[in-house]
């Protein structure tokens, strides 16, 4: 399988827009400043983590990984996800608050 190099930048921007409200504004309220900043930063972290997960799956598809590499990648990405979710929970954010639609994007990388 070959994957095109072109990036669907609209999809990336849409994905990032998930951390913003409907006016593309990340509104940082004095009352909820911690939560608002956490949503922005954790949303980006989760976005990058999901990209790495997709890339790992792609390399598995290509048969490029040894069992040991799969174990290391798997446990690292699993712990990264758990850590992001833990931090998110401390700020009262659910995984859905950070969720991104990487479906179509995953195919364009």
């Amino acid at each position: 399988m070959t994957y095109p190099f072109e990036i669907n930048s609209a999809a990336v921007q849409d994905a990032l827009a998930h951390v913003a409200d409907d006016n593309n504004r990340v509104t940082i309220d004095p009352e909820t400043v911690e939560q608002d900043l956490a949503r922005l930063v954790l949303g980006l972290m989760e976005f990058l983590r999901q990209l790495m997960e997709l890339q790992a799956i792609r390399q598995m598809d290509n048969g490029a990984l040894t069992d040991i590499q799969e174990e290391k990648l798997g446990s690292t990405l699993m712990r990264a996800e758990a850590a992001i979710h833990d931090i998110a929970a401390k700020f009262g954010l659910t995984p859905a608050d950070l969720s991104l639609d990487l479906g179509p994007l995953g195919k364009t990388i």
Partner: protein, 202 residues
């Protein structure tokens, strides 16, 4: 007042909708502030004339912004293209299966790969379902337990398309936890797209 969309027709428009005029287009406005209320009004306006360029219901576009956009050739070009068209939203939904908790990293990444592969299969089923005649197809959207897309369809083709989807669904062999939702016609939300240029903002 928030903008619902643009149209070339006079109406009449449902209660709760007022109308402004700029650059040869009518701008439909409402006081309704909930996305869902605005969506309901947009559907009513759309069904009256099948000529509505819809604003995202939660976008809070002002009349001034709508006037500026009405002068945009890109908007006018899109309106010509979308006139007499609506969209059907087709959503393939899967009942969630609960996965056992992975005990190793390898097991975890393999279960993610299995989910990913299943998602690709669902995409394939959806694509084959919507492969028939249509004017345009939106990109696929993913939710936790569903994959969906929009079909752009001429007003006179809607009934035929719905019948075709029913026939195709009956012919497809799939797992029992999958179902397909066909909803609409809606205003052509998935095909009304304007982007601001970064250069234009600075």
């Amino acid at each position: 007042m928030n903008v619902l969309g643009w149209t070339t027709k006079h109406g009449p428009w449902p209660q709760g909708v007022s109308c402004g005029h700029h650059a040869g287009l009518f701008v439909l406005l409402t006081d309704a502030d909930k996305g869902r209320e605005r969506l309901a009004l947009q559907v009513q306006c759309f069904k009256a004339e099948w000529d509505l360029m819809p604003v995202a219901p939660t976008a809070d576009l002002s009349f001034l912004q709508a006037q500026r956009l009405a002068e945009d050739v890109d908007l006018q070009e899109q309106m010509r293209r979308l006139s007499g068209m609506g969209q059907l939203t087709v959503s393939l939904t899967k009942a969630q299966t609960t996965l056992s908790k992975p005990t190793s990293g390898r097991q975890w990444i393999h279960s993610r790969k299995a989910q990913h592969d299943e998602m690709l299969q669902d995409e394939q089923i959806l694509r084959s379902m919507v492969a028939g005649p249509k004017t345009a197809l939106s990109s696929l959207r993913h939710q936790a337990d569903a994959v969906q897309c929009d079909l752009l369809i001429k007003q006179q083709d809607v009934a035929l398309t719905q019948e075709r989807l029913i026939t195709q669904a009956a012919a497809i062999d799939t797992s029992p936890n999958a179902s397909l939702f066909v909803t609409g016609p809606w205003p052509p939300f998935g095909f009304a797209k304007l982007r601001t240029d970064h250069a234009a903002v600075t």
